[in-house]
């Protein structure tokens, strides 16, 4: 059986699954339930000066019958006194010494404030500290959360403040609400972070009620932007993890967060460079028991692949993630329809005809039956037909044998430049 334990920035965890800092990690009772269920770690709901919350707080984006494709919240950090949280952290860590407890922290960007809270959480035995520089709502209006995380200089400074007092690893949690997350990830590195985690939630308004015209969620008829998470944000998070993992200046571990709901998502994040993952929305949707499928699926996957240790897959796909300009322009993929599986719904034909490259013909065979056929010479290999096809196996995307050597846009431009230099 494969070893699915991790050592993340020096923090040993029985498995890569940590509950992210959020409502599921609000109390000792919840975290203890999670550990009992099998979660490897928990990032405690963010500690700071206790806040006041509103009702209601959550909204969800349901899409085409799928509940909670995306999730939005306007809840703030912990509303409980620090002392109460610290007592519960201490008790929980004592009960579950082999499980990871990370304290998520958020205070004003002042050196003494960070020193004070870092020392307090350290004294109760946390395994690490996560700096919440990413919450996009509420706290940012008070100069904290993403108001810090959107400025590389403040990310660097805050990380440095925490590091000055920290004796345990410091993880800087980054906001995706920024043009290029690599800028703040590099700032965290400069500040001395032992790791970064990404992504915090994305600015969002999940909907407007068609009857009342109230924003969703609403507070006495009014709404404010919240933080978006859940399965819908996974591709955004995965890109940000991959982009950071392939950047040589961001040479610290990455904790992957953002829409991770299954063991398959976990594998994808770890292949793209995450050293562990954090999960919230899936647990809020289905409960802590999802950890059973998460660990079992991961373990079986590694066994089937003949991989002894989860750590062997970390970053294995990073070198395959590159800039567009380095992709091979001469690579050719075409669609092929398997007519024995195709149900002739014509979705591929319509998609191609209306919105792509008009290369799927409806033909008639000798028995007068319609069938679909791709004109491969005209097919640009965009994948759209196979994406819209409702039947598995009805359309294959085929890599054609190369007829020309690989040539990227960068290769092409270099060759033209060389030509122009010689001609001048």
């Amino acid at each position: 059986m494969a070893d699915i334990s991790i050592n993340f920035a020096g923090i040993k965890s029985p498995n890569p699954y940590w509950l992210a800092s959020a409502p599921p990690t609000n109390t000792g009772y919840q975290v203890q339930r999670a550990f009992e269920a099998g979660w490897g770690g928990a990032v405690w709901k963010t500690l700071g000066e206790p806040i006041l919350n509103v009702t209601s707080r959550f909204g969800a984006h349901h899409f085409n019958g799928q509940r909670v494709a995306g999730f939005n919240n306007i809840e703030l950090i912990s509303d409980r006194p620090l002392e109460v949280n610290l007592k519960e952290i201490y008790e929980t860590k004592k009960m579950y010494p082999n499980h990871v407890i990370i304290a998520s922290l958020m205070v004003e960007p002042k050196r003494e404030k960070w020193h004070e809270i870092v020392k307090k959480v350290q004294d109760v035995g946390v395994d690490g500290i996560e700096l919440n520089l990413g919450c996009p709502h509420g706290m940012s209006e008070r100069g904290m959360g993403s108001a810090i995380g959107q400025h590389p200089d403040l990310v660097e400074m805050t990380t440095m403040y925490a590091k000055e007092a920290a004796e345990v690893p410091v993880i800087t949690k980054l906001t995706p609400n920024i043009t290029d997350i690599r800028a703040t990830a590099k700032a965290a590195v400069r500040g001395g972070a032992d790791a970064v985690s990404m992504i915090n939630t994305i600015n969002s308004l999940v909907g407007v009620d068609l009857d009342t015209w109230n924003p969703v969620p609403n507070v006495n008829g009014q709404g404010a932007h919240g933080g978006y998470c859940g399965p819908a944000v996974k591709p955004i998070a995965l890109n940000m993890v991959g982009d950071c993992a392939r950047n040589p200046e961001i040479n610290i571990p990455i904790s992957g967060i953002g829409g991770i709901s299954t063991w398959q998502d976990t594998v994808e994040f770890m292949l793209m460079g995450a050293g562990g993952v954090q999960i919230c929305t899936a647990a809020m949707h289905h409960g802590f028991r999802i950890i059973e499928d998460l660990t079992e699926g991961l373990s079986n996957y590694l066994d089937e692949k003949g991989i002894d240790s989860l750590s062997d897959i970390i970053g294995a796909s990073v070198e395959k993630y590159t800039d567009w300009s380095d992709l091979d322009l001469n690579h050719k993929v075409v669609a092929r329809i398997n007519n024995d599986i195709c149900i002739n719904c014509n979705k591929c034909h319509i998609a191609c005809e209306d919105t792509s490259h008009q290369c799927i013909d409806i033909l008639t065979d000798e028995n007068g039956n319609d069938y679909l056929k791709v004109r491969e010479d005209d097919c640009v290999g965009c994948n759209l037909c196979s994406i819209v096809c409702p039947v598995d196996g009805a359309i294959d995307m085929i890599d054609l044998t190369p007829t020309e050597p690989p040539m990227s846009w960068n290769n092409r431009q270099s060759a033209i430049q060389m030509l122009q230099n010689a001609d001048s």
Binding site: N330, H357, R375, D378, M407, R412, A415, L419, D423
Partner: protein, 70 residues
């Protein structure tokens, strides 16, 4: 005309130039496609230029260029 037929037409022109010992001297990207200048040296030295509008032809001509440079 299909994209492929357009490519084959432009490819034929490129191949013919190469067959006649023309070499690529310059490629300029414009809003209307790539203008490719060819030159033939020797007794019958001359320059010719063609405009390639098809994306596959524009890939093809630079693939030929890179092959010639390597």
């Amino acid at each position: 005309m299909s994209n492929y037929e357009e490519f084959m037409e432009e490819k034929q022109v490129i191949d013919e130039m190469v067959k006649q010992n023309y070499v690529i001297k310059n490629i300029n990207g414009t809003l209307e496609g790539d203008v490719v200048e060819f030159e033939k040296l020797g007794k019958t030295a001359s320059r010719k230029s063609i405009r390639l509008t098809n994306p596959d032809s524009r890939k093809y001509v630079t693939t030929i260029l890179i092959k010639g440079q390597s």
